[in-house]
């Protein structure tokens, strides 16, 4: 892991992630105002002494909304990816381990789901489940599962041919032991790396859903929704759009950078 620290992208990613993690954990406690409180006298103001990042169309404090919104936006991204990682690796590992026609059937099914572009797939599911943060998260995790399944399957298949696994099979170890102690601990690495990078996509898709009005619903402080609601007012105060927009970019970039550094740490050959 030592080379991870010297990895410039990794350090930058780590910094961004810590900021985001702080916002998610302590945001609501630190927020100077109630995110929903109106301050109608100071509507659509840029950053000022008492509103560090300015106010939105209802005069609500943007910094507080950002801090409260971190949870719904970031937790959404991490949560959706987490579900897809777990579901995906379960499917992927079973396909990889069981092999045979079950593997082919699963793979053909995954190809079918992967044939539909992600955002389109998510939109279809969200329209089926109805709009809302919970439904959007479920939709994104369903859309991401095939990708994760494919990665965990290929990771398992490459591990299965390794000689320490063959040695375990030759020894007559139980299938359960082989999978749980020999295959999975080594297959986890690439899965986590891919998961970290996918979180940034999940955040962006979540924000896009918010923007299209199919994800988080008002009065939620989800960042994508904030951008969508603020777009009409951006000529009066560009901060209303810039602040949440940049926040999304910072979060997505943080996960991207960190994920890349993780990938290089796990697979030194691909390092800079």
């Amino acid at each position: 892991m030592s080379d991870f620290v010297r990895h410039p992208a990794g350090v930058a990613g780590a910094i961004l992630l810590t900021i985001i993690a702080l916002a998610v954990l302590f945001g609501p406690l630190v927020a100077p105002y109630d995110p929903q409180a109106f301050h109608t006298t100071v509507r659509l103001q840029g950053p000022s002494a008492d509103h560090w990042l300015g106010t939105d169309q209802f005069g609500r404090d943007l910094l507080s909304r950002l801090l409260f919104g971190a949870r719904s936006t970031i937790a959404f991204g991490v949560g959706a990816t987490m579900i897809s990682v777990i579901a995906g690796s379960l499917i992927g590992v079973t396909a990889g381990v069981v092999g045979g026609w079950i593997d082919s059937v699963i793979m053909r099914g995954l190809d079918g789901m992967l044939a539909v572009p992600d955002l389109l797939f998510v939109l279809l599911i969200v329209t089926m489940l109805g709009a809302g943060t919970g439904e959007a998260m479920l939709a994104v995790s369903i859309a991401f599962t095939p990708g994760m399944a494919r990665i965990s399957r290929s990771s398992v298949l490459s591990i299965r041919t390794r000689e320490y696994v063959l040695a375990a099979v030759a020894r007559g170890e139980s299938q359960r032991y082989i999978i749980l102690s020999e295959v999975i601990p080594n297959a986890i690495g690439p899965i986590i790396v891919e998961g970290t990078i996918r979180v940034s996509f999940a955040i962006m898709i979540g924000a896009t859903l918010g923007f299209l009005g199919m994800g988080a619903q008002p009065p939620s402080t989800e960042w994508g929704l904030m951008v969508s609601e603020a777009r009409q007012f951006m000529y009066r105060s560009p901060w209303v759009v810039a602040v949440p927009g940049l926040a999304i970019a910072v979060a997505a970039m943080g996960f991207n950078l960190f994920g890349d550094a993780l990938r290089d740490a796990f697979d030194p050959r691909r390092s800079r």
Partner: protein, 315 residues
């Protein structure tokens, strides 16, 4: 490129489309609310809703609707749009060409810009150029389309910028300069994320190639660096670049949904959002199938290109 392989690949594309069609039909069957409510809107009374639902055949069991629908598609009859009461084929057809013109423009600009950027970054690895491109790549992939689109709209278009039209569409055959001026911003927004992603991928592919034994062997033959890059490095990094681009086409097809909505580009993306909001089932099914088919065929096409570029890949 054996014919056997081609037919097998087309067969698997068809298989995938059947799976997608079934999945999409199942999803659209469970949508809450239904098209009738949306068509009659706020002022519909209960009896009117039932009457219209009956007319549209929405009350029949789903499997009958599916087989009837699938049967029709085989005879290229995509059914009638519930909301626009126009043949779906016509509605989706026009939208397809508009989206195609946008997507192709975006893809071409991306290829023209992203690949050289990636190669440049790999060649001057660790230099300021590499750092700049790396930064652009990271920022680019982190900006969701609607944020980029909004910023472009504010700074480059409409009243503030005044140079470029803020959204709207002129068909290429109507007036080509008109089309170009209208397509710049949407294609730019759509392309930005792709450009960033592809540049990064090409950079890492090119770095791998440059670190390979045969490049070292070429240099040790005393060939000038220019020749080494042109004759040895480039051909080897093009094939993987094509593979990366074919993967990103899926992303492109997703991106048009948001970009078309913002820039008032009358393509498939916007039609889909309209259809989803109005539960216009035949249109939703047609568009999803079409996009899935385009995605699958583009993957097949890129495989053919890769086979052409890399002699080792033989089917």
């Amino acid at each position: 490129m054996s014919l056997g392989y081609l037919t097998r690949r087309l067969f698997s594309v068809l298989l995938v489309l059947v799976i997608v069609s079934f999945a999409v039909f199942a999803i659209t069957m469970i949508l809450p609310g239904n098209a009738a409510v949306m068509i009659l809107g706020e002022y519909a009374t209960e009896d009117q809703l039932l009457a219209l639902a009956e007319v549209l055949g929405l009350n029949r069991p789903w499997y009958i609707q599916y087989f009837e629908w699938a049967g029709n598609i085989l005879q290229a009859d995509w059914g009638m749009s519930l909301r626009l009461s126009l043949p779906v084929g016509e509605v989706v057809g026009d939208a397809f060409w508009n989206s195609a013109s946008l997507a192709v423009t975006a893809l071409v600009t991306v290829i023209i810009i992203a690949i050289p950027l990636g190669i440049l970054a790999a060649l001057y690895r660790g230099s300021k150029v590499d750092l700049g491109i790396g930064l652009f790549a990271y920022v680019g992939t982190a900006m969701p389309e609607f944020v980029t689109a909004t910023l472009l709209l504010v700074f480059l278009a409409g009243s503030a910028g005044g140079y470029l039209p803020a959204g709207g569409f002129i068909a290429p055959n109507e007036s080509f300069p008109g089309f170009v001026s209208h397509v710049i911003l949407p294609a730019g927004t759509l392309g930005l994320i792709l450009m960033a992603h592809i540049a990064r991928q090409v950079r890492s592919e090119m770095s791998d190639v440059l670190a390979s034994d045969y490049i070292r062997a070429a240099r040790l033959k005393g060939l000038r660096e220019r020749t080494v890059i042109r004759r040895h490095a480039l051909p080897n990094s093009l094939a993987p670049a094509v593979a990366v681009i074919s993967l990103d086409i899926g992303y492109l097809l997703g991106g048009i949904i948001v970009v078309e909505e913002i820039f008032a580009w009358p393509g498939l993306g916007r039609l889909l959002i309209y259809a989803l909001e109005n539960r216009d089932l035949p249109v939703i099914q047609a568009i999803t199938l079409l996009l899935a088919a385009v995605y699958a065929l583009s993957n097949l096409f890129s495989d053919l290109v890769i086979a052409a570029l890399d002699p080792r890949v033989r089917y």
